[in-house]
């Protein structure tokens, strides 16, 4: 089984590749915030330092976010800086379709819907866009990915996402540029007895801790999130 680690490019001046085991896949970017993208220079530096695959995670995208991401992807593909793209927005599909040079995984936001759609249509869409795997953080979603879509499951531990916003909780705006204030860390464990689980704010999403263990079938990669407490 492959191992991957989730880093964050917003931790300036760049992800510390040395902290991650050589050979493991390093996932940079974010599934939850379009602003948390590395620069092309950061990616190139990372590529030189990390002896493993590099995957770029992407989020829901506004037009400004999509334009910036496509510019980054063009440089990343040309320089062979990434080997995988994690996609969460329908708007990214045309770029994927016309640009070879990386594999594609459906992100947790996109596959949450895709995995509940007509399996024949969804499988065809995956084939047309080179989507060979999908990200999951709970057994139900993993099962739908594996059985319904026939994709490999990249399973995230030990946190599971519960909610996402496009309004930056740290800087309080909707803009496609920011000062990466989230990199200083969130408010810690958020507790309200009615919710019944501690929530953790990271980038623009709220997470809970997952029960230990992996789904029995279909998991080809585990992704460990190191940044939360």
């Amino acid at each position: 089984m492959e191992r991957a680690f989730l880093s964050s490019p917003s931790a300036r001046p760049g992800p510390g590749a040395g902290r991650f085991p050589a050979g493991a896949t390093l996932i940079v970017g974010s599934e939850y915030c379009q602003n948390c993208l590395p620069s092309a220079d950061q990616l190139a530096r990372l590529r030189r330092r990390h002896r493993g695959k590099i995957s770029l995670a992407t989020s829901l995208l506004t037009d400004a976010g999509l334009a910036r991401l496509e510019a980054l992807l063009r440089r990343a593909v040309k320089g062979r800086l990434i080997s995988e793209l994690i996609a969460n927005d329908w708007g990214l599909l045309p770029f994927i379709r016309r640009t070879p040079g990386f594999s594609v995984s459906a992100g947790r936001l996109l596959v949450e819907e895709l995995s509940r759609m007509d399996p024949a249509w969804a499988r065809q869409l995956c084939r047309e866009h080179r989507i060979a795997s999908a990200e999951a953080d709970n057994p139900g979603l993993a099962r739908r990915i594996e059985r319904g879509l026939g994709l490999k499951v990249s399973y995230h531990v030990p946190y599971r996402f519960k909610a996402v916003t496009t309004f930056c909780p740290f800087e309080r705006h909707f803009r496609a540029d920011c000062a990466f204030t989230c990199a200083r860390g969130g408010p810690g464990r958020l507790w309200n007895p009615h919710v019944g689980q501690g929530l953790y704010l990271h980038e623009k999403a709220y997470f809970v801790k997952s029960p230990p263990g992996l789904p029995r079938r279909g998991v080809w990669r585990t992704v460990r999130h190191r940044l939360l407490p």
């Binding site: 829901l60 759609m117 996402v164 009615h194 709220y206």
Partner: protein, 291 residues
């Protein structure tokens, strides 16, 4: 900007259409849509009644099928769309691109409103849905005018609809929020007094509320949408009809101000006076329909 209102009964449809709504939409019992089952009309007869009523009052009626539809339900959903369209249904509110592709393949071309619950935040996503036959986009509740320019002026002729964000806003993206919500009323006392996203959370540094934009920003956003030529504002279905009516009249009041050509500054000042706690609209979960 015209008003589209979600209704739970024929009486509600009459109330809103007689008081200035241009459109109403409803769900049908047993068919998938985003709201609670109890908020749907009970069958074909009441929907046909709403359609006949709307015809008399020169309004339009939409059927909400705004969820991912299981493949085995496709033919049934197509049947409803065909038969109700023959009766005068104006359009259908959808979210599922696979189902839209199926409609297209079958040669069915209803007027499709793309639900606010779809991942459509940029022009290329809109292009994707345009290819599936969408005629109108309800902008995601968290899409603001500063990011929506290309959606509002799109080359596909797709009309746009917004929520009145100063009065109705989701702290998190509602279609990607898996926090438990006490929307049925039955859960209100036992589990949570309000949406989890509005509750105070304890944390090591004190008290935390999930951040949301301020009322001035939201009023400004609604003003900008109006000025940008958005065609429709939506008043969503809600379990408690009194609450929904309250929202409807506030939206009408704001539109009246906008129709008069009020300045942005004055609009914001006035809007703040009307409703100092807009998000509190969602507080009542008790099911109290107008019958």
């Amino acid at each position: 900007m015209r008003i589209a209102v979600g209704v739970k009964s024929v009486a509600e449809a009459r109330y809103y259409l007689e008081n200035g709504a241009a459109e109403v939409y409803c769900g049908l019992a047993g068919t998938p849509n985003n709201r609670l089952a109890v908020e749907n009309l009970s069958g074909a007869a009441p929907i046909r009644e709403v359609i006949a009523l709307a015809r008399r009052l020169k309004g339009r009626v939409f059927l909400a099928l705004n969820d991912i539809l299981p493949r085995p339900r496709y033919d049934e959903a197509c049947g409803w769309i065909e038969s109700l369209s023959r009766a005068g249904l104006f359009g259908v509110i959808l979210k599922d691109p696979a189902f839209m592709a199926y409609l297209k393949a079958r040669g069915l071309r209803p007027y499709i409103t793309l639900s606010t619950l779809s991942i459509c935040f940029n022009r290329k996503a809109l292009e994707f849905f345009a290819g599936l036959g969408v005629s109108r986009l309800v902008l995601p509740m968290q899409m603001m005018p500063e990011n929506a320019k290309n959606l509002l002026r799109n080359p596909h002729g797709i009309e746009t609809e917004v929520f009145c964000q100063p009065l109705y806003y989701g702290v998190n993206l509602d279609f990607l929020c898996f926090l438990s919500c006490p929307q049925t009323g039955r859960e209100k006392s036992s589990r949570a007094p309000d949406f989890p996203c509005l509750l105070p959370f304890k944390h090591p540094g004190g008290r935390f509320y999930m951040p949301l934009p301020g009322p001035e920003y939201m009023l400004g956003a609604f003003y900008d949408y109006y000025r940008a030529g958005v065609s429709y504002v939506k008043v969503a279905r809600w379990p408690n009809s009194q609450r929904q009516m309250d929202l409807f009249w506030k939206v009408r009041h704001l539109l009246k101000l906008l129709d008069k050509g009020i300045s942005r500054e004055l609009f914001i000042r006035h809007g703040l006076g009307i409703d100092a706690r807009p998000i509190q609209y969602g507080k009542s979960f008790s099911f109290k329909p107008l019958r």
